[in-house]
């Protein structure tokens, strides 16, 4: 490649750009180890005596129940999305009928209602079905929130499966479940993994419903985080520690699975 500056310089430039880009994040990690007084300094302090007090404070405030609620809601809703979405994606891709694009369009249109507008009806419905402050309310909502995207993504992965393989399977008399499990899934697995990962990210970080429809019992991690913003007093260091702990699970999952993500998305993400 005819580059004026040589690959070495480009690497350095890439590193610099990357570090600059994530600098706010690095700063947050730094702040999580500070005492509050060290967090409110002008100019910002780079060297200080680190402490684990903030993390201890966060755990003391009962972080774990929120964490397990988030984990439960995220995993179950993602499982539901896959359970409902894979057959739907199949139907919309490999067995299309008249009305397929309508169904797709419909799914997409459900994402157009600003979730904010539906909150009072949802609140009233949850009240009447005893689902207020209950993780199942969130699970149902998150499943329906992520299904359109998941179906759309998985549909395009399914379209990548070579026709011959499916025809061969059908000729051998495979029913849909067998078809899915033995023939299609192995091909689209990275794509499904990518979809599942995206659902996990969106479920874990969802803020509006969780803050408004849960209270003490079903609170998820964003609810916990919001409780840190106090009207009075200093709180940035504790907040940084809380934000770090709150984001860590998904960060780890994302880091581990990023290869799947890229590979999955590159398998013809759009048709």
């Amino acid at each position: 490649m005819k580059s004026r500056f040589g690959p070495g310089a480009l690497t350095v430039a890439t590193w610099v750009i990357a570090i600059l880009f994530v600098f706010p994040l690095l700063w947050m990690i730094l702040t999580a180890f500070k005492q509050e007084a060290d967090a409110y300094t002008d100019p910002p302090r780079l060297f200080f005596t680190p402490t684990l007090d903030q993390f201890a404070g966060v755990l003391e405030r009962g972080f774990l129940p929120y964490l397990s609620n988030s984990a439960f809601v995220t995993v179950v809703s993602t499982l539901f999305v896959l359970l409902l979405g894979i057959p739907a994606a199949y139907a919309l891709s490999l067995a299309p009928v008249k009305g397929t694009s309508n169904a797709l369009g419909f799914f997409l249109s459900t994402k157009m209602l600003p979730i904010v507008a539906a909150i009072i009806p949802l609140y009233v419905i949850s009240q009447n079905t005893q689902l207020l402050d209950n993780v199942w309310a969130l699970i149902i909502l998150y499943t329906s929130m992520n299904l359109p995207l998941a179906i759309w993504m998985m549909r395009s992965f399914f379209l990548e499966v070579p026709h011959e393989m499916i025809e061969a399977g059908r000729i051998d008399g495979a029913t849909l479940p067998i078809l899915l499990r033995k023939i299609i899934m192995p091909v689209v697995a990275p794509g499904v993994a990518a979809t599942a990962l995206i659902c996990v990210i969106f479920s874990w970080t969802e803020f509006f419903y969780s803050v408004n429809l849960t209270a003490a019992r079903a609170g998820t991690v964003p609810v916990f985080l919001v409780g840190f913003i106090t009207s009075e007093g200093l709180y940035w260091a504790q907040l940084s520690a809380a934000a770090l702990l709150a984001s860590l699970p998904v960060m780890i999952v994302g880091w581990i699975a990023q290869n799947h993500l890229v590979r999955g998305l590159s398998m013809g993400a759009v048709k």
Binding site: A37, F72, L79, V135, N212, A215, G219, T230, S231, E232
Partner: protein, 446 residues
Amino acid sequence: MRKAAALLAVLLLTLTGCAGAGALGTGDRTLVVAIVANPQMKDAIELSGEFEKANPGVSLKFVSLPENQARAKITASTATEGGEFDVVMISNYEAPQWAANGWLENLGPHIAANPSYDADDFIPSIKESLSHNGSLYAVPFYGESSFLAYRKDLFEQAGITMPAKPTWTQIAEYAAKLDDKAKGIAGICLRGKPGWGESLAPFTTVANTFGAQWFDKDWNAKLTSPEFKAAAEFYVNLVRNHGEVGASSAGFSECGTRYTQGQAAMWYDATVMAGTNEDPSASKVVGKSGYAPAPVEKTQASGWLYTWALAIPKVAKDKEAAFKFMAWMTDKAYVQRVAQEFGDWNRVPPGVRKSTYDIPQYREAAKAYAQPTLDGIADADQRKAMANPVPYPGIQFVGIPEFQDLGTRVSQQLSAAIAGQITVDEALKQSQEYAQTVGKSYQEVQ
């Protein structure tokens, strides 16, 4: 992979069962308490283990949120009778209205059944602000008025003496003298953040003492009257010229940060600020502040009256246990517990019980601000703080249900004026329109 997923799901189900995701009872009664995330409340949460120990069979779950969210959640829940909470934290704004709507449990009988609770020990104005038809519907946790904190050392350096009853004109003068942009010290810190409980609280007290009011006795909106305009111009200009940087998004906590880190010479705000100002672990100006009464212009006094209180929604299931907890958090012994546990009398909830102010250790630790706080609360009376009679309760707020909305919208206009995006006149004109719509709906009822 499916097996792994199933295993994971089972594992999580068990985990969440232990964490209480559902209401899988163990026979315990669980009280869900919704409170605002202020430092005094946080202390209460820390101490709550003691209550659980003393009352086996009752476990507490707290939902603690910043003020705006807490209000939104609590109001939505109570108004729709959702029943998520057994105890809610409300203020003297909501209490009389919600009591009249029948949304709150009448606490009179509960209090009568507990003579040692001594509700007569509550400061009278605070008690009255939470009552309806002579009965208490919420018990106060802490009460406040407003006053002016000022840096005695900076005043001395500049050769200024704070008068015993300062006027706003004088304060503006001092702010101009002490404003030191080079050193990053603002002359005065005033709230500018939108919110009917944020910037509108101090602003309305200023408007009151300038002789203005939101509505006259016939519910005509008076936001474009000369007095209101003078007050608005005064407030906006003072903040823009000698106020803190970022004033239009500065609320109580932002001003608190500035003042305790030594970046403001004065701060007009709630009397509870003294607790943080004198807290060595957070403040760099401990012991340097004097506390003057809320500045006046045309009226006798101008401090506001506000209290965070605990109430029981009518639809709560376990009212006995709920009241027991509320009593624990607001009885005479509570302040002793706080002082013992945290070793700092400055942390006790101020402004509710007369007995607190009789405790010698408290008077000693809080000597800079205890009396000014009491005085402020005692003077927080519409007759003293306002120039003209008004058809609604409340000093720094208008005690009608529409005020949450109206106040928020007007405060947004004010905040835009402070940020310099619109002129004061434009802000007042738009605000007057909002207020007129509300006023009309009350005129129709009359």
